[in-house]
């Protein structure tokens, strides 16, 4: 039964992806394209966060660190060298390398630090990267940041849209497989009960480090896409806001679901978009941020497990409920 269920889900995913792929050709609005690209980029970031939060049970307040590394690497490469494809690819490789190394060491620290302490330590590291970006002014131009040119193949917004979409789809498929692999199952076990996982013969630290690296590298890639989409980078890529965005998107969509991260990114970006549009229509919405806050609050109240999580549970319990009454009926009959 689960098989059928996932097969049907896969078809839905495929349809949605196909629709998104033809979207720019049927609806010609560049600002929609940009908005969607933004959603895809943040979806990638949120999915990378979900690997930590939803699948391994690690809370990090410093995820922006990897995002920022990606963004700055590509920015600096494009600015310092030529905005050519070869340098771009080099920047991607360097990003992967850097984020992998950094996340490796950050991952190692999960051994020593538990929950909040780890979260805060990652925040400290992200903060140090922020200071570095601020202070290494010859390269980063401080917090004002700098603009740069991008290789030709990234110039066209439609192409870029497709690239972001493609990245999101690939990351989604990879991570889906990753989380459904035997290794992914061990990660979930770690989330549930670390010490027990260890005594089943799994080396928890190695798994955490793997999760940390996978998550870090993908966040770095999101950072690259982000910087390219703006053709500009400044220290805001290292701020807590980015981490919080990733966190919020993951949670709103539903932790530990991956699709949730995508849906969360969509919801946040679009409600943001619509609320700011409303702000122009009616003065009530001038303070649209209040409504934004209310959306978060309502989301928790009505979708306590995130949208995908709550829907899943709801579906699950509807299916489960069927046999239950039958069971009690038979017993009742037997008694009478």
């Amino acid at each position: 039964m689960t098989r059928i269920f996932t097969d049907r889900m896969n078809i839905i995913y495929l349809l949605v992806a196909a629709f998104l792929a033809v979207f720019p050709f049927i609806y010609d609005s560049r600002s929609m394209l940009i908005l969607f690209s933004q959603v895809f980029i943040f979806a990638v970031l949120a999915m990378s966060y979900d690997i930590l939060l939803g699948y391994t049970g690690i809370v990090s307040f410093g995820h922006a660190m990897f995002f920022g590394i990606g963004a700055y690497t590509v920015g600096i490469f494009m600015k310092r060298f030529e905005p050519e494809t070869s340098y771009f690819l080099l920047a991607v490789l360097v990003t992967i390398f850097l984020t992998a190394v950094v996340s490796y060491f950050v991952g190692l620290l999960t051994l020593r630090l538990k929950s909040h302490y780890y979260a805060m330590l990652t925040m400290a590291f992200a903060g140090l990267f922020l200071v570095l970006a601020e202070k290494w002014r010859t390269v980063t131009y401080g917090n004002d940041g700098f603009t740069f040119r991008v290789p030709d193949f990234l110039k066209d917004r439609t192409d870029f849209y497709l690239l972001c979409l493609g990245s999101m789809v690939i990351v989604f498929m990879l991570l889906k497989r990753f989380t459904n692999s035997p290794l992914g199952k061990v990660l979930q076990a770690i989330r549930e009960n670390e010490q027990r996982t260890e005594s089943l013969g799994y080396s928890v630290l190695q798994y955490k480090v793997i999760a940390s690296i996978v998550s870090g590298v993908i966040a770095g890639i999101a950072g690259i896409l982000y910087a390219v989409s703006l053709r500009f980078v400044n220290t805001s890529v290292f701020t807590m806001d980015i981490t919080l965005d990733a966190l919020l998107m993951t949670i709103i969509g539903g932790v530990g679901t991956l699709v949730g991260a995508i849906i969360g990114a969509g919801i946040i970006e679009f409600s943001h978009h619509w609320l700011t549009e409303l702000a122009k229509v009616h003065w009530i919405f001038e303070r649209w941020i209040i409504f934004f806050g209310i959306i978060y609050i309502l989301a928790v109240m009505f979708f306590p497990m995130g949208i995908v999580g709550s829907i899943k549970k709801w579906k699950f319990s509807r299916k489960k409920k069927v046999p239950a009454p039958v069971h009690s009926d038979t017993i009742n009959q037997g008694k009478s």
Partner: protein, 257 residues
């Protein structure tokens, strides 16, 4: 025949309190050994030292003649020492079958496979189901572990240990809280494993009839120290054991035996 499991002078001190005090034992392969002793005698702590949850303040642990004192729990499990826990210790938000499957997967050595779908390992699922059947829990395989009744969790705990298929099984009060009518079934499982003759079992229990029934030898811990180690009959005759552990009711019981 060399010992499969051996400790030398094993001690651990928690801030001044010696929980395990210079215990030296040796367990031959395929042997069934029980540990008894008053509450707080150090039985669980002794297990923790064997399975690597704790590192001793002093002394050594040997597995098949090799020293493993410094090895992590993970490595010891992989080497072949599996254990169950006194305090129920499962994965609460995973289903019962997933709980067991993780143990099966570990036994199969599939640890870092990240590109294949878990469902391509059908065998795991089947094996997990078999283990659940063995402990009378197969009808609850899709329930979340946290929704199990206490006794059911104990069974799950045993299933997970069995699924690891390790040479040495360390069982910490496996039947505590299990219902009267099901204890015999679980006893049967343990007995069967014993009869297969290829497993070494160390059991902590307070149920004396069960211990008398199963054990080849019994060791007694008192205030962390090894008080006695011998056949069930010898142990039951021990005065200290009778007065400080068994108490009045069991003395009659022992007399009958």
């Amino acid at each position: 025949m060399t010992a499969i499991l051996e400790t030398k002078n094993l001690s651990i001190i928690f801030g001044g309190h010696t929980a395990v005090d210079a215990v030296s034992i040796s367990v031959p392969p395929n042997h069934f050994k029980s540990i008894i002793g008053p509450n707080g005698a150090g039985k669980t702590t002794f297990f923790n030292l064997l399975s690597g949850q704790l590192t001793p303040t002093e002394g050594q642990v040997f597995f098949k003649g090799k020293e493993i004192t410094k090895l992590s729990p993970t490595k010891r499990t992989r080497a072949g020492i599996g254990r169950s826990f006194q305090i129920t210790n499962v994965f609460p938000n995973l289903t019962v079958i997933e709980n067991v499957r993780l143990a099966v997967q570990s036994h199969a050595g599939i640890r870092y496979q990240m590109f294949k779908h878990f469902r391509s390992y059908k065998k795991f699922e089947e094996q997990a189901e078999e283990w659940l059947k063995l402990v009378l829990l197969d009808d609850r395989k899709d329930a979340l572990a946290m929704n199990l009744a206490h006794g059911e969790k104990r069974k799950l705990e045993i299933a997970m240990l069995l699924a690891l298929n390790t040479e040495v099984l360390l069982l910490d009060e496996p039947t505590a809280g299990m219902s009267l009518e099901e204890v015999p079934a679980i006893l049967d499982v343990i007995r069967k494993i014993k009869q297969r003759g290829d497993r070494t079992i160390v059991l902590i229990e307070h149920k004396m009839d069960m211990i008398m029934d199963l054990s080849d030898t019994i060791m007694v811990l008192f205030n962390g120290a090894l008080l006695a180690d011998g056949t069930p009959e010898e142990i039951m005759k021990n005065e200290t054991v009778q007065s400080a552990y068994l108490g009045g009711l069991h003395r009659e019981h022992a007399a009958k035996a």
